[in-house]
């Protein structure tokens, strides 16, 4: 009883301190709101909390409402910055009230996962095989096209059950962007978007939905984010890159894809790096972007966010690896630091 009271007092005292502290800081506290992609949410929330520790008067709030929602809210100017997994389209850029700039923050990748009864080894996929499977043209696991690139694997005649995202998603965007580059038929029949008209398959919501379908359905194939597969110890297949090598996704192989892309980097960073050329490159990789107005009305926020970006592209990148993201390669960071000067302060 006595202890109880004592603890109560202590809590109250601590609470009072916090309130007093809060009141003191609140005077010059800067709150900045952003919204967008769910895929980079873990690292963004890590960044914003770490940055808040360094600069206690700066509080950056991020709502992971999805890339589409992020672009909409940025366009309506209800948030200061947006975030997206697929670069804004020319139509979306034109719809925004001011010029919008893209800044790559980290990289992610999408990996094929499968559940084939009796097969424990790692499978190899080529882009064309993946496209044909997701088009419903390859329907059995022992199809000649799959057997040919997986010699020595005893593939059964089990029918292939395709699992894909039912919700609109940046993961889908990256995956179909890759398939559209390697298969002309996929490009014309399905195309690239966060949600597409899949010719076959079952829809699961989120990475966990797709992974659940694959795990539960014998003969299933699906795609999830690399991070999700790593964190949940899901085994995944390797994919043939543009140089002809079969590469298993790692954060290093993803960063390499971005490093290869630097040679052809457009000034606005709106670039797809799927099926990137070069050795050791994982082909289903992509940047994720933060979006800012070139000439924001709130200069205090603009200055803060530029400083934040300098930190995120520098010290912030060290958090990428532990959270399963691939870091932005140094040459791209240099380009971005230069581009940050475009924001009118």
């Amino acid at each position: 009883m006595k202890l109880h009271t004592l603890r109560g007092w202590r809590l109250a005292a601590a609470g009072a301190c916090v309130i007093a502290l809060g009141a003191g800081v609140a005077a010059q506290k800067l709150q900045i709101n952003g919204a967008g992609a769910t895929f980079p949410y873990p690292i963004y929330s890590k960044w914003f909390s770490e940055y808040n520790k360094l600069h206690p008067n700066i509080e950056i709030n991020y709502q992971s409402i999805g890339s589409g929602g992020g672009i909409r809210q940025l366009t309506n100017q209800t948030v200061f910055f947006g975030a997206t997994d697929g670069p804004m389209t020319p139509a979306q850029l034109a719809a925004a009230p001011g010029r919008v700039l893209h800044f790559p923050t980290v990289l992610g990748a999408v990996v094929p996962i499968y559940n084939i009864p009796g097969v424990t080894g790692e499978l190899k996929f080529s882009g064309v095989v993946l496209a044909d499977v997701f088009l419903g043209k390859i329907t059995r696991w022992n199809d000649a096209a799959i057997m040919k690139i997986n010699p020595g694997v005893n593939l059964p005649s089990t029918p292939i059950a395709v699992a894909r995202r039912s919700d609109g998603s940046g993961t889908t965007y990256i995956f179909v962007d890759y398939l559209s580059k390697v298969s002309a038929e996929f490009k014309t029949r399905v195309g690239v978007n966060t949600a597409v008209n899949w010719p076959v398959g079952l829809g699961g919501a989120g990475n966990e939905g797709v992974a659940g379908l694959v795990k539960q359905t014998p003969g299933a194939i699906g795609y999830v984010e690399l991070i999700y597969a790593l964190q949940n110890n899901i085994s995944y297949g390797s994919v043939q890159n543009a140089a002809g090598e079969f590469v298993k996704a790692t954060t290093a192989a993803v960063t390499k894809a971005a490093a290869e892309a630097v040679k052809a980097m457009p000034a606005d960073f709106r670039v797809s790096i799927t099926n990137a050329p070069g050795a050791g490159v994982y082909p289903i990789s992509s940047f994720t972007w933060l979006l800012f107005y070139e000439n924001p009305s709130n200069k205090a926020m603009a200055k803060t966010m530029v400083e934040f970006m300098q930190w995120a592209l520098g010290d912030g990148q060290k958090f990428a690896e532990e959270l399963g993201y691939a870091a932005v390669p140094a040459p791209v960071v240099q380009l971005e630091l230069a581009a940050l000067k475009k924001i009118k302060l």
Binding site: I65, G66, S67, G68, G69, I71, R72, T89, Q92, P159, A161, S166, D167, G168, S169, G170, V190, G191, V192, N193, T194, A195, V196, N197, W198, G201, L202, G203, G204, A205, G209, G212, L213, Q216, T217
Partner: protein, 319 residues
């Protein structure tokens, strides 16, 4: 003690409650207007074809809602077919046949079923129902698998799984309303039947006939719930836009596609098409409710001499 005296207090009370009722109308109309306004691009682009065509292609900007409308109606009707006999059976047992000591726990359990969040049903569906459906499908004989109701690859996630989940979810609603309706049937009805030498089954039929309007209302309440259910259905139905009679084919519903695609829909037309699906769902729900209201109205008029005010009221409340 001060009391409201005479007209002023009454008028104020009437005015206050009346304005609440009016608020309800304003809300319904307001929802309709907002849905219409936010889907105008899609309404202009596709017109009535939106209801009929079945291609849903966000890349090409081509939208037709037929598979979703089909999926919602088919799954709800299937759920109704499964749930109604069970729910009415429960209601009859609880109100007519159940021993007193068992009634309270059973009533508590049915109401508990109604309180379980739908995502919990969805999880149960994923881990229990779907493997069960898959193994059932794998074990049906080949000649039966040719039958249109049973075609398709054994995925587990399917229209049938969705219908079963929906049925389980609406049973407690239908049965508790139906039970209330049966309880409101005057005892004299049963006594009269027994006095004429009726068996328990015959007496129950008399009670059922007396309460049929209210029971119909209870069934429609369940149907309304099935139409709008989102979470549990999207977790087990397979989310594939197609129209099929098969219980084993993955399909899609209106509520599920809105929940799935809304947050990432960056393109205006896509967004408006999703909102129009909401509008379609809204209209279908209104039609179903109006239809059942009309049916109840006709039934009460035909059976006026036999229907007591309480039963009719319960029916109206249920609808």
């Amino acid at each position: 003690m001060k009391r409201f005296v005479g007209g002023a207090g009454d008028r104020g009370f009437r005015w206050a409650t009346g304005s609440f009722a009016l608020l309800l109308i304003v809300i319904v109309v307001g929802i309709g207007i907002v849905l219409w306004r936010e889907s105008i691009l899609s309404i202009r682009a596709f017109g009535f074809n939106f209801w009929r065509t079945s291609i849903w292609d966000p890349v090409a900007g081509n939208f037709g809602a037929a598979p979703f409308i089909w999926g919602t109606l088919y799954s709800s009707v299937l759920a109704l077919v499964i749930a109604t006999p069970i729910a009415i059976g429960i209601a009859i047992f609880l109100s007519e046949l159940c021993p007193e000591w068992l009634r309270t726990p059973l009533v508590f359990l049915t109401e508990l079923l109604a309180a379980i969040p739908s995502i919990v049903y969805g999880l149960w569906g994923i881990f229990f129902l779907i493997p069960l459906v898959r193994s059932t499908q794998s074990s049906i004989p080949a000649w039966l698998a040719e039958f249109p109701l049973f075609t398709g690859a054994p995925y587990g996630v399917s229209m049938g799984a969705a219908a079963i989940i929906l049925a389980i979810m609406i049973v407690p609603f239908t049965s508790s309303v139906a039970r209330e309706v049966l309880r409101s049937v005057p005892l004299s009805q049963r006594e009269g039947a027994y006095a004429l030498g009726a068996t328990q089954w015959e007496a129950t039929r008399v009670v059922l006939h007396y309460a049929r309007v209210g029971i119909f209302g209870a069934i429609m309440l369940g149907f309304g719930r099935a139409l709008g259910e989102t979470m549990a259905v999207t977790m087990v139905i397979g989310n594939s836009a197609r129209i099929s009679w098969s219980l084993f084919e993955p399909q899609y519903t209106m509520a599920a596609v809105i929940a799935n695609e809304f947050k990432e829909a960056a393109d205006d037309l896509h967004l408006h098409a999703l909102v129009e699906i909401g509008l379609v769902l809204f209209v279908i729900t209104l039609i179903v409710n109006l239809g059942s209201r009309l049916l109840i109205w006709r039934m009460t008029r035909e059976g006026r001499p036999r229907v007591a005010p309480q039963a009719a009221e319960s029916a109206e409340a249920a609808a």
